[in-house]
């Protein structure tokens, strides 16, 4: 497995399969934060300690396979160009923090890109697992198995009373962040989501934009995740999230039906305008792209648009990000050049589908 593959394909192999409820839930993610016992956390560790960790992870796991997670590739941040790091961020394989702040950071990525293990981020180890659609329980099971496999070689920092010890007090205990990426255009359009968020927060869950903390909900894509990691078992946390997501799916479906019932023409108009913009524009910004892609996706889900497959939209969503465009162009691009390339890429891709 080479780095090149991670760079070339906008869609990670695991995204090519449709998961349950994939009209609304795009992906489910489990993240576990872990640290080595006896080595200070990355913010205070000496460089030699962090280098030792890199060396250790590389020697134990580079090119290893665990279950279906084949041929783990070990990549250090220092060997990557800024654009390459950006591409990995846009594919959610690494965090912006690892790309920008962790000089001695690295990542292990499986061939399917379903597992990525960030090394020397805020914690020594952050295991991430992705599943298509709504599959939280399965993702948790697999994450546990993967965690056990790593633990065969690593002495984790663990305390009987506080659980898995992490650098930030917000992660201590289970070190678990379970999250679900959802496309909620009808709830956003009808302003219903804003009214639901306070209730969701009360359950110890948060709703935010696609790139995590503080980011905007581009293209009506929201991430719902747990906040509490101490005193609540992983299974219970995932159950809570699961039931809230089920409710959101139900509400989103209701809102879509209501829109179709009450203002079908307006909805159809909106969807086809966006489709038109994507098909014909010559310059397009990423924000407008995200909005139009969201509309077209909704158009497919409710049956107005029949000749495009959903996976193309997922692909375009990643492909039209600034990092990917530059990777595609094989050169740095100014924002104006990006907007031009973005428009032509989208046209090409949609034509391919129609042809």
């Amino acid at each position: 497995m080479s780095l090149q593959q991670f760079m070339n394909d906008a869609i990670s192999p695991w995204m090519k399969e449709d998961g349950p409820d994939s009209d609304i839930v795009m992906s489910s993610r489990i993240r576990l934060a872990r640290n080595f016992d006896n080595i200070p956390f990355p913010i205070l560790a000496k460089n030699e300690d962090l280098l030792k960790i890199l060396e250790f992870i590389k020697s134990k796991y580079h090119h290893q396979t665990f279950k279906t997670y084949q041929d783990l590739e070990f990549v250090t941040m220092s060997e990557l160009k800024p654009i390459e790091k950006r591409v990995l961020v846009e594919k959610h394989l690494i965090s912006p923090h690892l790309a920008e702040k962790s000089q001695l950071g690295a990542v292990l990525i499986s061939k399917s890109e379903q597992v990525s293990v960030m090394v020397n981020e805020e914690d020594h180890i952050r295991i991430q697992l992705y599943f298509p659609g709504f599959q939280l329980e399965k993702a948790l099971d697999q994450a546990f198995a993967f965690d056990d496999w790593l633990e065969e070689e690593i002495n984790y920092a663990f305390d009987e009373k506080r659980g898995y010890l992490t650098s930030c007090p917000t992660n201590v205990g289970t070190g678990l962040r379970a999250s679900v990426m959802m496309h909620l255009p009808a709830l956003a359009l009808t302003q219903k989501l804003n009214r639901m968020i306070p209730a969701i927060n009360q359950l110890g869950l948060v709703v935010r934009g696609i790139y995590g903390e503080g980011s905007e909900a581009l293209g009506n894509i929201f991430q719902v995740s747990n906040q509490v990691t101490l005193g609540r078992a992983e299974k219970d946390t995932v159950d809570d999230l699961q039931s809230v997501v089920e409710k959101l799916i139900e509400q989103e479906r209701n809102a879509r039906e209501l829109l179709l019932e009450q203002s079908p023409l307006q909805l159809e108009d909106r969807i086809f305008r966006s489709y038109g913009v994507l098909e014909h524009s010559r310059i397009i910004e990423s924000k407008e792209t995200a909005k139009c892609l969201s509309d077209v996706r909704l158009g497919i889900d409710v049956g107005f648009i029949k000749n495009i497959s959903k996976s193309i939209l997922n692909e375009l969503m990643v492909l039209t990000q600034p990092g990917f465009l530059q990777q595609y162009a094989k050169e740095g691009l100014s924002p104006e050049e990006r907007d031009k390339l973005r428009a032509s890429l989208i046209r090409e891709r949609l034509n391919l589908e129609n042809g």
Binding site: N35, D37, N38, I39, P40, F41, I43, L44, A45, E122, F144, D147, D148, E151, E152, N155, Y156, A157, F158, D159, E160, K161, R162, G163, Y164, L165, T166, S167, C168, P169, T170, V172, G173, T174, L176, G204, Q227, V228, T229, L230, G231, R232, A233, E234, K235
Partner: protein, 177 residues
């Protein structure tokens, strides 16, 4: 000993002030210490507040009073993180910090984790063998109690045997409890 300022409350803080070689002893209660500016714990409370205000939404007055005592200047021996650094950065420096700053952590964790302070959930398989045994043991003991109360003595005897063998395992592993 009464507080030398208000003569009402008991003096709980005792200082020795040395100015130009002249020693003065000061005995005051917490209230007066705060009022007369003998201690600067407000500083600590504020820096804690600064850090946690956004993240943890901190405003509990009880924390102010409890964290008043001497841990203010504690520094983690393992990584060199001081308590004031911890409150400023909002991150632990190493696993040992959890022990070093133990006295301050419960209120913080309660805030962040919906009132919880104790881990519930996964335990590492290999290094957590003893912890896992202990957990199972506690479970069995509770079950034994229920069985005895329900007068199911036959079942109870079986559970008792399980407990005995587990306890043997634990002592073999060097578990001290």
């Amino acid at each position: 000993m009464d507080c030398q300022e208000c003569h009402e409350r008991t003096a709980t803080l005792h200082f020795t002030k040395v100015v130009n070689g002249n020693k003065t002893e000061i005995h005051v209660c917490e209230h007066c210490a705060k009022e007369k500016g003998y201690v600067s714990y407000d500083e600590e409370a504020y820096s804690l507040h600064d850090l946690l205000s956004g993240l943890f939404n901190f405003s509990s007055p009880s924390v102010k009073q409890n964290s008043f005592v001497h841990t203010q200047g504690k520094t983690c021996e393992k990584c060199g993180m001081s308590y004031s650094d911890f409150t400023r950065i909002g991150k632990f420096g190493c696993a040992e910090c959890y022990h070093t700053f133990e006295d301050h952590l419960n209120p913080i964790f309660r805030r962040v984790h919906s009132g919880n302070t104790t881990h519930h959930g996964k335990i590492p398989k290999r290094i957590g063998v003893d912890i896992n045994l202990k957990k199972t043991l506690t479970g069995y003991k509770e079950k034994l109690q229920q069985l005895i109360e329900g007068e199911e003595f036959e079942e109870a005897a079986k559970v008792r045997d399980k407990i005995k063998s587990l306890e043997k395992d634990l002592s073999r592993n060097g578990g001290d409890d």
